[in-house]
């Protein structure tokens, strides 16, 4: 056996760590698309996967434009888009961006304004796009920078059968206090069933989304108009205490690790009587193989001081400013966000899979209404009554309902969510959690106050 001086083996070890770190730093440059091809970068959600299946057969056949898709999970997609768009490398012509990114992407001058194209394009029918959607994809300069592919708000879901058994009535537009009372009464209605499921998993897109909508309607806000952090102010503190108390008393077990997926599990398994979350959850609850299909009732997001409190989120198509083929890119966007495409999905994959939540005409379509009967109207109402510019009782420095529209929010929101999640787990008091969070928020606010 030879003697091995294993010094060389150190290299792969070091490399493994470095390689893992840098996996996200690759993909600089690269050729853009020319002629009749466009490159699209998108998130790997089911609606996008459907689109990928339909593109060659329909879009390419009609227009002769070939589409190269790059599909990644949400975190990686955000990262890759900011890489490519920041350098204006032009590697991707079109990308899926959410209404969280649009305002500051536009401020960075990374996106192509779409107003002129939309105005010229009668067939696309921009007026059909729901107003809050249009508003949330419009930047501070008043120009439109993206077209929605599908959208969602939030609402309250509850077990109609359990409520009937227990002689409980759910109001059409419940207040949070009513919901807390109902949760107490429905708690234990069936063996192992808790009153309500609310997210407690740390993350700006997990716990922080529903909690921020609760804070809005309790009269709280992250920042005042002049960027003073408000996390320890009465509105925000009261809302957080209410949320934490409710989930600790009548919420699911293991709440500090429960996100969207876990609550969906709890509801389908009959472990929760109510759930406040995304309107898109209804599709899974009403799926053919769901054990609670037809047993769920849907009402507007609970309120306290505001008229509505549902959030607003959309995955939308943005065109990179540096694209070499803006016309072809627009052709793709107008096709993917069109009425015609929705009908195509309905006929091919079933009406429940339509990328809904963006057009008024979707909710007027009899086929869609039949498939999504119980929740379609409540969803439409939730989205149309959302007010991204004015979601609370005071003026805000940025647009956004369940988030503050600044790049720092993903980090800040996640760190604050970790503190509040610890309060849900009983590791610290809500006051302690908010005190730490306020410090974090102040640091971010200061940067903006100086600008």
């Amino acid at each position: 056996m030879p003697v091995l001086t294993l010094r060389a083996a150190r290299i792969p070890l070091v490399a493994l760590t470095a390689g893992a770190l840098l996996a996200g730093c690759a993909g600089m440059g690269g050729g853009g698309s020319g002629g009749k091809t466009i490159n699209v970068l998108m998130v790997n959600n089911p609606q996008m996967m459907d689109l990928q299946k339909l593109t060659a057969k329909h879009f390419t056949k009609e227009t002769g434009i070939r589409v190269n898709f790059t599909v990644l999970p949400e975190n990686d997609v955000r990262d890759k888009i900011s890489q490519d768009f920041a350098n204006q490398a032009g590697q991707y012509d079109v990308a899926t961006i959410s209404n969280f990114e649009v305002p500051f992407y536009a401020r960075n001058d990374w996106l192509l304004p779409l107003d002129d194209r939309v105005a010229k394009d009668r067939a696309f029918d921009q007026k059909d796009i729901l107003p809050p959607m249009r508003q949330s994809l419009t930047a501070d300069d008043g120009r439109l920078y993206a077209q929605p592919f599908y959208g969602e708000s939030s609402f309250l879901m509850y077990r109609k059968d359990v409520f009937a058994e227990k002689h409980l009535t759910m109001p059409e537009r419940p207040t949070w206090q009513q919901v807390a009372d109902l949760a107490a009464k429905a708690d234990g209605a069936r063996n192992g069933m808790k009153g309500i499921c609310l997210r407690g998993l740390p993350g700006w897109g997990e716990l922080m989304a529903p909690l921020t909508t609760v804070a809005n309607t309790f009269g709280g806000t992250w920042f005042s108009k002049d960027w003073k952090a408000q996390l320890t102010s009465p509105g925000f503190a009261k809302a957080t205490k209410f949320y934490v108390d409710l989930v600790r008393k009548h919420g699911e077990a293991g709440a500090a690790q429960s996100g969207f997926a876990e609550c969906l599990n709890n509801l389908t398994q009959g472990k929760s009587a109510m759930w406040y979350d995304a309107t898109s959850a209804a599709g899974s609850l009403e799926a053919a193989d769901s054990p609670v299909k037809g047993k769920i009732g849907y009402v507007q997001a609970p309120v306290v001081k505001t008229k509505s409190s549902g959030w607003l989120y959309t995955w939308a198509w943005g065109i990179q400013k540096a694209t070499r083929t803006p016309d072809n890119a627009w052709k793709f966007v107008r096709w993917a966000s069109s009425k015609k495409y929705e009908t195509l999905v309905g006929k091919t994959f079933g009406w429940a899979n339509v990328p809904a939540g963006k057009r008024a005409s979707t909710y007027a379509d009899p086929d869609y209404r039949k498939a999504a009967g119980t929740f379609s109207e409540v969803t439409r109402k939730a989205i149309t009554s959302a007010r991204p510019r004015d979601p609370g009782v005071q003026q805000r420095p940025t647009i956004g309902i369940q988030f503050v529209d600044i790049p720092e929010f993903s980090d800040l929101g996640t760190k604050v969510a970790q503190e509040i999640s610890a309060a849900i787990a009983g590791k610290q008091s809500v006051d302690e959690a908010l005190k730490k969070s306020q410090k974090l928020a102040e640091r971010v606010g200061e940067e903006y106050r100086d600008e």
Binding site: M1, P2, V3, T5, L6, R7, A9, R10, I11, P12, L13, V14, A15, L16, T17, A18, G19, A20, L21, L22, G24, C25, A26, D76, R78, D79, S82, A86, N87, F104, N108, G192, L201, P202, G203, W204, E206, E252, A253, G254, A255, A256, Q257, G259, N265, N266, Q269, K271, P407, E408, S410, D411, T414, A417, Q418, S421, A422, A425, G426, K427
Partner: protein, 321 residues
């Protein structure tokens, strides 16, 4: 670490060039040519290795000296060691270093002890030994993220998990496993994954024991415990060191368990998870790179020890041959 065996004469083929380059001999040119003839075919592989491994690391190093937020590319600037200062002074990052040390040490020590017990059991002959061994190795073959999901949903979940199901059946309490003992929950799932790895290494060690020595000890009237204490354990020392070091290197880098079970909440965020958050959530490329470089340096320190142990093992094998 002492190396009693380094003095042993080395036989076998000539050691590689690195060892001989220092030796001055009159026929250097011819030797050089011959050495290069042996090296040449390896060059493409070496160059490839450097391109795919060292260049990215060099890039990480460079990036770590910049203040670079992905959403504010226009403000990218060279800041020297600022990022390293931030990493050293940031409370969250400091806590995550402590968490990493605690998590790694606990998992490694517990896995080694359990692995040793299992290896001693498997070292005996009994019917169905092969099957038991295969079953014991299974957890190590699972994809880490799948294992973490299994623990989160199938075992820990207080609503429909196996643990609380069994407790209900026994009429016991219903703990909320991950919330009540977050770090312990992560550690348990990792111990389950890494015990088989330790067991395999130690089993290999056990099976290479010189049995004649044990026979002799038995004839001299040594009991089981004495044999274990004075013969087996000293023989296993190297293997224990190897398992500990390799385990440490891998577990320091563990990301899946923390990400899946707790999302870094409840003070369970370890360094890899914190780096991930810094990179993907805060979009602070400079800071994430600086933290990454520090992890790499830490890993190199551990790895150096590990490789020393491994090479001393090899030398021992050679001297025995």
């Amino acid at each position: 670490m002492s190396n009693p065996t380094t003095a042993a004469p080395v036989r076998g083929p000539r050691p590689p060039a690195a060892a001989t380059a220092t030796r001055r001999s009159p026929e250097i040119p011819r030797n050089r040519a011959r050495e290069w003839a042996t090296r040449a075919p390896l060059m493409p592989a070496l160059i490839f290795l450097i391109v795919v491994t060292q260049l990215p690391f060099a890039a990480t190093l460079v990036i770590s000296f910049f203040d670079w937020n992905a959403f504010r590319p226009e403000r990218r600037e060279f800041t020297g060691l600022d990022n390293y200062r931030t990493v050293a002074s940031d409370e969250g990052l400091r806590e995550s270093i402590l968490t990493t040390v605690l998590l790694t040490a606990t998992v490694v020590i517990v896995s080694v002890v359990l692995g040793l017990l299992l290896a001693l059991l498997l070292d005996r002959r009994f019917r169905g030994r092969g099957l038991v061994r295969t079953m014991l190795i299974a957890p190590f073959l699972l994809v880490p993220v799948a294992s973490a999901l299994l623990w989160k949903h199938a075992l820990y979940n207080p609503e429909y998990g196996l643990f609380n199901g069994v407790l209900t059946w026994l009429g016991g309490p219903q703990p909320d496993w991950i919330s009540d003992m977050p770090l312990l929950a992560v550690e348990m799932s990792l111990v389950w994954q890494w015990t088989p790895f330790m067991m395999l290494i130690l089993l290999a060690g056990l099976q290479s024991r010189p049995l004649d020595m044990i026979e002799a000890a038995r004839l001299d009237g040594a009991g089981n415990w004495q044999i274990f204490r004075y013969l087996t354990l000293p023989h296993l020392r190297r293997y224990l060191e190897l398992g500990t070091l390799l385990g440490s290197i891998y577990i320091v880098q563990n990301f899946d368990a923390v990400f899946t079970l707790t999302r870094g909440g409840l003070d369970t965020a370890n360094l890899p998870y914190t780096i991930y958050e810094t990179f993907y959530n805060a979009h602070e490329y400079g800071l994430a790179s600086a933290a990454g470089v520090l992890v790499v340096i830490g890993t190199i320190v551990i790895a150096t020890f590990a490789l020393r142990v491994v090479s001393s093992l090899f030398r021992e094998e050679v001297s025995r041959a």
